[in-house]
């Protein structure tokens, strides 16, 4: 229990010892987004409401949250266990069908699809949500957010750091949220353009096929290490964890289960283990494609807002909520679709209340929509096809070289701008000290 994050821990320690961190006044920004200028107020969302309204808005959402938390109970416990039962049944049936599939290719295909379905459920409605701590209140060690490990090559610990902490706290803030384009794609106007962004669409397509490996690579935070944000030891332990996890996953799907199929060689031929390897590979790819499609619709459609660090510094709880709301997009659909998406089709509700069991999001959305109406906010939702087209359009649009030299990462103008910003920040820090 001693993993630390140097990029932020310095600032936080400073705060802790400088003044008493008054957690009972929850109405303040998460630690690293505090400006050296303590009087500064965040400008996020001021076009929608005043600071007083933000306080009210924050309280209203806190009330919705508490109301749902108070209501959690047996029905939620039964639900997640039922989902786990369906997932495990489809996994076992899928594995059996894959073995039986060496005698009949149709059965093999059915097995691969069933196994892919099971991996989707495990990663999205179970793994993602459990690792958010949505079911920690049950106190069941098998579905405990801190102990759960998912069926994915990305180790839970590093995924939780990048996702639960970085992405969910600094949602859509440029330079803070590493999920804007995943360090690979240009999906927003305020991201600097580099020549590799010409290949936005083909790169996104490859990422889709091998998404779990992309998630694992993203969790290594290589860019953070290269820019001096984390130590060699930390990067080393992240890499070691990823290797260990990937080895186990590969061993399971591509060595252990195929090895059982060795028994079938005398009956069908030498290729029996290869058929199992192929079916398991297809199952993993099915899961990869689905997860990619759902996740890219969460924050990348056209009307989703992104934010600048200087605007979000010293934000209050209402502004934090607003940033989550305006920075996310929902997907409309049927109940089975919502479950298969891990209820990330309710990305807005998930970002407002990431640790509330996801099956509650559809009901919560009614309360959220009332607030959206009351304060004249936007509630971004649409069918999967509409959101996907929007994302593809964004990828194509922002892959092109922008005319504005300030939007090009390597232009002398933007280099000078970055240098000036850096110097101003250092000066502000010195003045504050």
């Amino acid at each position: 229990m001693s993993k630390s994050h140097p990029r932020t821990s310095g600032a936080i320690r400073h705060r802790v010892h400088d003044r008493v961190y008054d957690a009972s006044n929850h109405n303040q920004a998460p630690a690293p987004l505090v400006s050296p200028d303590t009087d500064k107020r965040a400008t996020v969302g001021l076009s929608y409401m005043t600071y007083e309204q933000f306080d009210e808005f924050g309280n209203e959402l806190d009330e919705i949250r508490q109301r749902v938390l108070d209501d959690l109970g047996q029905a939620d416990a039964n639900y997640i266990r039922r989902v786990i039962r369906v997932q495990q049944a489809s996994e076992v049936l899928g594995r059996i069908a894959v073995f039986a599939g060496v005698f009949n290719l149709w059965v093999l295909a059915a097995g691969a699809i069933l196994l892919g379905f099971s991996k989707i459920l495990e990663n999205m409605e179970i793994g993602h949500n459990v690792m958010h701590g949505q079911y920690d209140w049950m106190n069941d060690p098998m579905i405990d957010g801190h102990r759960y490990e998912w069926d994915n090559v990305a180790p839970a610990q590093d995924w939780k750091h990048g996702h639960n902490f970085i992405h969910h706290t600094y949602t859509n803030i440029h330079g803070k949220d590493r999920d804007i384009g995943y360090g690979l794609l240009r999906i927003d106007e305020d991201q600097p353009w580099y020549p590799n962004h010409r290949f936005n669409l083909p790169l996104a397509f490859l990422l889709m096929l091998f998404f779990e490996w992309g998630v694992m690579y993203h969790g290594l935070e290589l860019d953070d290490y290269l820019s001096g944000g984390s130590s060699k030891e930390e990067f080393g332990s992240r890499t070691a964890r990823a290797k260990r996890k990937a080895r186990r996953q590969v061993l399971k799907d591509y060595v252990a289960y195929p090895a059982i199929a060795l028994l079938a060689i005398p009956f069908v031929g030498w290729w029996a283990p290869l058929a199992v390897i192929g079916a398991n590979f297809v199952a993993n790819v099915i899961r990869n494609i689905w997860a990619f499609l759902i996740i890219f619709c969460g924050h990348f459609p056209a009307e989703v807002e992104t934010f600048l660090e200087e605007d979000a510094e010293n934000e209050n709880r209402g502004q934090w909520y607003l940033r989550q709301l305006m920075g996310s997009a929902n997907i409309s659909g049927s109940l089975p679709f919502h479950i298969l998406s891990g209820n990330l089709s309710h990305q807005i509700e998930h970002h407002l209340f990431p640790d509330i069991p996801a099956r509650r999001y559809p009901a919560i959305s009614k309360d959220v929509k009332v607030l959206v109406e009351k304060y004249g906010l936007k509630y971004n939702t649409g069918r999967l096809s509409k959101q996907l087209l929007s994302v593809a359009h964004q990828l194509a649009k922002f892959g092109k070289k922008p005319a504005d030299p300030y939007k090009q990462g390597k232009s002398p103008e933007s280099k000078a701008l970055r240098r000036a910003k850096r110097e101003a920040k250092e000066k502000a820090l010195q003045d504050a000290a």
């Binding site: 229990m1 001693s2 993993k3 630390s4 936080i12 320690r13 802790v16 008493v20 961190y21 957690a23 009972s24 929850h26 998460p30 630690a31 806190d62 508490q66 938390l69 959690l72 109970g73 047996q74 029905a75 939620d76 416990a77 039964n78 266990r81 786990i84 039962r85 495990q88 690792m131 958010h132 701590g133 920690d136 209140w137 049950m138 106190n139 069941d140 060690p141 098998m142 957010g145 801190h146 490990e149 998912w150 069926d151 939780k160 750091h161 639960n164 902490f165 970085i166 969910h168 706290t169 996890k245 186990r248 996953q249 061993l251 399971k252 252990a256 289960y257 934090w320 990431p354 640790d355």
Partner: protein, 361 residues
């Protein structure tokens, strides 16, 4: 563990169920079918006194047995939440089977003990740990033995007495038990019957003394003198409230008999729900440090104590800082909600201790 359970928890099977434990699958088949997680079915519930009951359990094959004097973590699921408390095993360890009993005195505010006393039905499945605790009889039991208990502290001692009598221990056992009154005493009939064997049962009712009682009042060295016991030469076990243990400990220290004494606290953490001012002690169990509760969040207090717990957002969103709270009550800084469950996961960045709290840090 049987051969099937050993096989189910073996490395080749784990490789196939990775990243999950085989029990993750097995418990969906049947809650008792787990290979390594100890579970038990409630066979019966027996009222001992107005507020104490004995629960008879039959554990699944994952149970590796207990030594007399040990306790188990006992979890029941109520409205979707597993509530865990620690209870002493009260039955004899002499038999070979997987049946055993725990005996519990219901605390007025104790959710689980109240549930056990009033609502637990035979057939219910409960979630256990393996037996734990160092307060056990030695492998070679000396001839003479003194067992002292107070109140519900009788439960582990009762397991020792039952085991020794069932194993036909030939030495002389003195069992000195302090209870408020005869009505308040657990196992009264059995203790009455025990007199006939080579166990000397002496019961002292501190509030309503028996008419012809030879000893009265709280524990005193004179009680031992009267019974003809030399503490320096008698292995002694004491279990009960902190006051009784402190008296016995000091008495034994005074006469230089401390090495003969084995103690088990029945600690009830102080929970002061209305306290505006910070009270109690915050214990960090894993690192064996503790600090007086300063009223700040547990995360801040851990950092102030020199620990480096994991954390992320520090606003209760990301779950990075979640750890097990082992005992005590905490208050959520935003909602004000107080949680007093044992062994539950909390986000330490938004929880402040209310009274004594122990966390796994």
């Amino acid at each position: 563990m049987g051969i099937i359970r050993t096989a189910l928890a073996s490395r080749p099977v784990r490789a196939l169920t990775s990243p999950h434990h085989p029990d993750h699958y097995l418990e969906r088949l049947h809650p008792l079918a787990t290979a390594e997680s100890v579970r038990a079915r409630v066979v019966g519930v027996r009222r001992e006194t107005g507020d104490a009951s004995t629960v008879e359990l039959r554990a699944n094959g994952a149970w590796t047995g207990f030594k007399p004097g040990q306790h188990v973590q006992f979890g029941v699921e109520v409205d979707g939440t597993r509530k865990v408390r620690v209870f002493s095993v009260s039955s004899s360890a002499a038999g070979k089977g997987r049946r055993f009993t725990v005996s519990v005195k219901a605390h007025p505010d104790g959710y689980v003990s109240q549930f056990l006393h009033h609502d637990l039905k035979p057939g219910t499945i409960v979630y256990l740990s393996q037996a734990e605790g160092e307060f056990v009889l030695p492998d070679q039991v000396p001839d003479d033995l003194l067992l002292i208990s107070g109140g519900s502290g009788i439960t582990p001692v009762m397991s020792m007495v039952r085991t020794l009598t069932e194993r036909r221990h030939t030495g002389h056992i003195t069992f000195l038990h302090y209870a408020r009154s005869r009505d308040d005493e657990m196992f009264t009939d059995e203790l009455d019957a025990l007199r006939s064997l080579n166990v000397d049962v002496v019961r002292i009712y501190t509030r309503q003394p028996a008419p012809r009682a030879e000893l009265k009042g709280r524990f005193h060295i004179d009680h031992l003198k009267h019974l003809g016991i030399d503490p320096t030469e008698t292995l002694t076990y004491v279990c009960g409230p902190a006051g009784l243990i402190a008296t016995v400990r000091d008495t034994y220290a005074e006469i230089g008999a401390s090495d003969q004494l084995r103690m088990e606290y029945f600690k009830v953490p102080s929970v002061d729900l209305d306290a505006a001012d910070a009270t109690g002690t915050l214990s960090f169990d894993t690192s064996s440090t503790e600090a007086p509760n300063s009223g700040a969040t547990i995360l801040e207090q851990a950092e102030a104590a020199g620990l480096t717990p994991e954390f992320g957002c520090r606003m209760g969103v990301c779950n990075t800082c979640a750890v097990k709270k082992l005992s005590g009550a905490v208050r959520h800084v935003v909602s004000g909600e107080v949680c007093a469950n044992t062994d539950e996961t909390i986000k330490i960045c938004v929880q402040v201790p209310v009274g004594d709290v122990a966390v796994a840090l």
